[in-house]
C-alpha cells in the first residue's frame, strides 16, 4: 500500500489540511497519510482546529468497519457489499502500536518571547555585518516577538523557520523527526510523495514552501540516505491571495498583518521562486478572483486567528488528492497546474463541472461529487436525527437494524466514538456552510449551504434529500421525507455477520451503505 506525506505550513496550510481531512473522511483518500503541521505560532486557531479534527478522525478511523460484508438479498441469497471507504486513510498511525499516533504537529522548541534579532544573533555581529543585515530587516523586524509566527514577514520567516526546522530534525517527539523517520523507512522500499500546502503571501507559508525540499536535501545522510532522496517526489499547493481581513492597528506588540499587501508579497515570492525554483515536480497554483473577508477582525496570530474556510482550500485538498493519485511522477519533470471557471468566455462559477479535477478524468469528478454528497448527507442525518437519541436514551436498542446485526456488540461501549462522529459531522457541516458563504461571490454551487446548519428536525427532514446543488441532477426525484427513506434502508439491512469487533465501526459502515443507496436513488445516479 502506498503511503503519502503531507506538510501543512502556517495557518493557511492548516486550513487546507482541514479540507484534506474531510475528503479523507468522505473516502477520497484511502492510502495512509503522514501529516505534519509546521506552524511556529503554536496556538494558531486554525492549526488547533486541524489538530482537534485529526483527533476526532483518528478515533473514527480506529473504529474498524467490516471489510467483506455481505447483506441478505432474499431467502438464502447474499450480496457482497463494497469495502468500507469512509475514514479509511490512516493518519500518522504508528506501526506496531494499535491505536497509537505520531504527533501531527511540529513542536516549536523556542521560548514564546524570542525576538527575531536573537535568532540571527544581531547584537553579536560585527558592525559591518549589522549594516548589511539592516538592508534586509527594519528595526521593527529585529524586535519582533515570534510568539505568533512571522506576521506576514517572509524575510523573517525564511531565516527563522529554516533554522528551527534544521535544529529539530533530530529532536524526539518533536514531530519532524518522526515524520522523517517514517519517510526514510518508506523510501527503502519505494518512491514516496510529499505534498506541501501553504500560502505564498504570508509569513510562514511563503517562507516554508521553498524550505521543505531544501531542508530534506540538506539533511545529514544518517537521517535520509542520499540514495533514498532521489526517490522523493514533491508536489505543492501554492495558495495565492484568496481571502482578506480588516486592517488592524499595532495592538499585538509588533508589526501587524495587512491583507492589502498580499498581492505584492505574492508577486515578490513568485519572482523569487522563478529565479530559485523550489524543487517541486508538481505545483498547483491556487487562488480566487474575489477575496472575501474570512475573519471579522485583524489578528496577527494565536487562538484568535481562526479564519473561516474558503473553497480554495477545498481545491488545494483536491490537488493533493490528484497528486497522490498520479500513476507516475518523473524525477526531472516539472508541471504547473492551474484552472479557472470560464467556459465559452463566460464565468460559470465554481460548481461540480468546474471544480478543478484532472480534466480528462470525468469519472474522478463524479467520484468526488458522489463521495462528498454521501458523506454530507450522512453527517447531516447523523447530527440531526440520530446522535441525541443515541446518547440520551440508547434508543437504538429497540431498532430492528441494531437487533438484527449487532449480536454481542454494543454501542453502549462506543459512546465516545459516537461523540467523535457527532463532533466531526458538526464541524464538517459548519465548514461546508461557511465555504458556501465565503464562496458567494464566485457563484459557488456545490451544496445548498444555507440549509446545512438547519437544526429543526422537521425542516431538516425536508432538506435532507436536496442537499446537493447540481443542475445535472435536476431530473431526479428529490425526497422530501429523507429521514424515513434513509432509515428504512438502514432498518432492512441484514449482514451475514458483523465482520468487526467495533460496534461504532459497524454502525458507520451500515449507515454509509444506507445513505449511499438513498443518494443513488434520490439523485438518479447511474450505477
Amino acid at each position: 500500500m502506498a503511503e503519502n506525506y503531507l506538510i501543512a505550513i502556517g495557518g493557511t496550510g492548516s486550513r487546507c489540511l482541514e479540507a484534506v481531512i474531510y475528503l479523507a473522511a468522505a473516502g477520497l483518500f484511502q492510502d495512509p497519510l503522514h501529516v505534519l503541521i509546521i506552524d511556529p505560532d503554536q496556538n494558531n486557531g486554525n492549526s488547533v482546529k486541524a489538530r482537534t479534527l485529526v483527533t476526532n478522525y483518528h478515533a473514527l478511523h480506529l473504529a474498524r468497519q467490516p471489510e467483506q460484508a455481505e447483506k441478505k438479498k432474499s431467502f438464502a441469497r447474499w450480496e457482497k457489499l463494497p469495502a468500507p471507504s469512509q475514514f479509511q486513510a490512516a493518519l500518522n498511525v504508528r506501526g506496531g502500536d494499535a491505536g497509537g499516533q505520531h504527533s501531527i504537529f511540529w513542536h516549536n522548541p523556542n521560548a514564546a518571547q524570542r525576538r527575531f534579532g536573537e535568532v540571527i544573533q544581531y547584537q553579536a555581529q560585527t558592525e559591518e555585518l549589522k549594516n548589511f543585515l539592516d538592508l534586509f530587516y527594519e528595526p521593527a523586524d529585529l524586535e519582533m516577538v515570534l510568539d505568533v509566527g512571522y506576521r506576514g514577514r517572509t524575510n523573517v520567516g525564511a531565516v527563522a523557520l529554516k533554522q528551527d526546522l534544521e535544529r529539530t530534525a533530530n529532536v524526539p517527539q518533536g514531530g519532524l523527526r518522526e515524520f522523517l523517520e517514517k519517510l526514510n523507512i518508506r523510501l527503502q522500499a519505494e518512491e514516496a510523495r510529499i505534498f506541501v500546502m501553504g500560502s505564498v503571501f504570508g509569513g510562514t507559508g511563503a517562507a516554508g514552501l521553498p524550505t521543505i525540499p531544501q531542508l530534506i536535501d540538506n539533511l545529514p545522510s544518517e537521517v535520509i540516505s542520499l540514495d533514498n532522496r532521489t526517490r522523493i517526489r514533491y508536489g505543492c499547493a501554492m495558495m495565492t491571495p484568496y481571502f482578506s481581513f480588516p486592517k488592524g492597528g499595532d495592538a499585538n506588540g509588533g508589526p501587524g498583518t495587512d491583507s492589502a499587501r498580499h498581492a505584492v508579497a505574492t508577486q515578490a515570492a513568485l519572482l523569487h521562486y522563478a529565479h530559485v525554483p523550489p524543487g517541486y515536480q508538481h505545483v498547483y497554483f491556487i487562488g480566487a478572483p474575489a477575496r472575501p473577508q474570512t475573519n471579522a477582525s485583524n489578528v496577527a496570530g494565536g487562538q484568535g486567528q481562526t479564519n473561516e474556510p474558503h473553497y480554495a482550500e477545498l481545491v488545494a485538498a483536491l490537488s493533493a488528492w490528484q497528486f497522490f493519485a498520479l500513476p507516475h511522477v518523473p524525477a526531472g519533470n516539472s508541471q504547473l497546474h492551474f484552472a479557472d471557471t470560464v467556459n465559452d468566455k463566460s464565468d460559470i462559477g465554481v460548481n461540480w463541472k468546474t471544480l478543478p479535477v484532472n480534466p480528462e478524468n470525468t469519472r474522478s469528478r463524479d467520484a468526488i461529487k458522489r463521495g462528498l454528497t454521501v458523506f454530507t448527507t450522512m453527517a447531516y442525518f447523523y447530527k440531526n436525527f440520530l446522535y441525541d437519541r443515541f446518547i440520551n436514551g440508547q434508543q437504538y436498542e429497540e431498532a430492528g437494524w441494531y437487533r438484527d446485526n449487532f449480536g454481542e456488540l454494543s454501542l453502549d461501549h462506543d459512546i465516545p466514538v459516537l461523540q467523535h462522529l457527532y463532533e466531526f459531522s458538526k464541524s464538517y457541516l459548519t465548514w461546508l456552510a461557511k465555504v458556501g458563504e465565503t464562496g458567494k461571490s464566485a457563484n459557488l454551487r456545490l451544496f445548498r449551504t444555507g440549509e446545512l446548519l438547519e437544526s429543526d428536525p422537521a425542516l431538516a427532514d425536508r432538506h435532507l434529500g436536496s442537499l446537493l446543488d447540481d443542475p445535472m441532477s435536476s431530473t431526479a426525484r428529490l425526497s422530501d421525507m429523507g429521514f424515513h427513506d434513509i432509515y428504512a434502508k438502514l432498518d432492512k439491512l441484514k449482514l451475514r455477520q458483523p465482520g468487526t469487533n467495533s460496534a461504532a465501526g459497524l454502525f458507520i459502515f451500515m449507515l454509509h451503505h444506507a445513505v449511499s443507496e438513498f443518494c443513488q436513488e434520490n439523485y438518479a445516479w447511474g450505477k
Binding site: 434508543q395 429497540e398 431498532a399 449487532f406 454494543s410 424515513h484 432492512k492
Partner: protein, 167 residues
C-alpha cells in the same frame, strides 16, 4: 382524551356484559331453534377465523410492515402496537355489525328471515356472537404476529413477537 377513552371502554364493557347476560331471555321466546343457532354459530365461527386470518395477513403486510419512520423515534414498534389496537377495535365493531346484518338479512333460520328485533335479541345478543368475534380477533392477531415476524424487511418485525435483543 383520557376521559373519551374511558367512556368508550365503559360503553364496550357495558355492551359485552349485556351480551353475556341476554342469551337466556332471547332463547326463551323460542322463535329460533337451538339447532339453527348452533348451525349459524359454527358456520360463522369458521368464516370468522378465516376472514380474521386473511385480514390479519393483509393488515400486517400492507399496513403495519410499511409504517413510516417518524423523525421522533428510531423504531415503529410503538406505532405498530397502536395501529394494531386500532385494527382490533375495527374488528370488534365491524365484526359485530356484520354478524348482526348476517343474522338479520342473510342467514336462513329455518327458511325464514328474521325481523330486526328478532335478529338482535334472539341471535346477535348471544354469547355465541362474542365467541365468534373473539375467535376472529384471535385469528387476526395471530396472523398479524406471524406475518410481521416472517417478512424479513418488515419495519415492525419485533413489535409483537420477541426477537434478538440489542445489547
Amino acid at each position: 382524551m383520557l376521559n373519551r377513552k374511558l367512556r368508550i371502554i365503559s360503553l364496550l364493557m357495558g355492551i359485552l356484559a349485556a351480551n353475556a347476560l341476554l342469551p337466556g331471555g332471547a332463547l326463551a321466546q323460542g322463535f329460533v331453534s337451538r339447532e339453527s343457532l348452533d348451525e349459524w354459530f359454527y358456520s360463522r365461527l369458521l368464516w370468522g377465523v378465516f376472514v380474521g386470518a386473511f385480514f390479519g395477513v393483509f393488515v400486517g403486510l400492507v399496513h403495519l410492515c410499511r409504517l413510516q419512520f417518524q423523525i421522533d423515534a428510531l423504531h415503529v414498534n410503538s406505532q405498530a402496537r397502536r395501529k394494531f389496537a386500532m385494527w382490533s377495535l375495527v374488528i370488534l365493531v365491524v365484526g359485530g355489525l356484520l354478524l348482526f346484518l348476517d343474522a338479520w338479512l342473510l342467514f336462513p333460520f329455518s327458511a325464514v328471515s328474521l325481523q330486526f328485533g328478532e335478529a338482535l335479541t334472539q341471535v346477535w345478543a348471544n354469547y355465541r356472537t362474542l365467541l365468534i368475534i373473539a375467535a376472529t380477533w384471535a385469528a387476526f392477531g395471530l396472523a398479524v404476529v406471524v406475518a410481521t415476524r416472517m417478512k424479513s424487511d418488515c419495519r415492525c418485525r419485533y413489535a409483537f413477537f420477541p426477537g434478538p435483543h440489542g445489547k
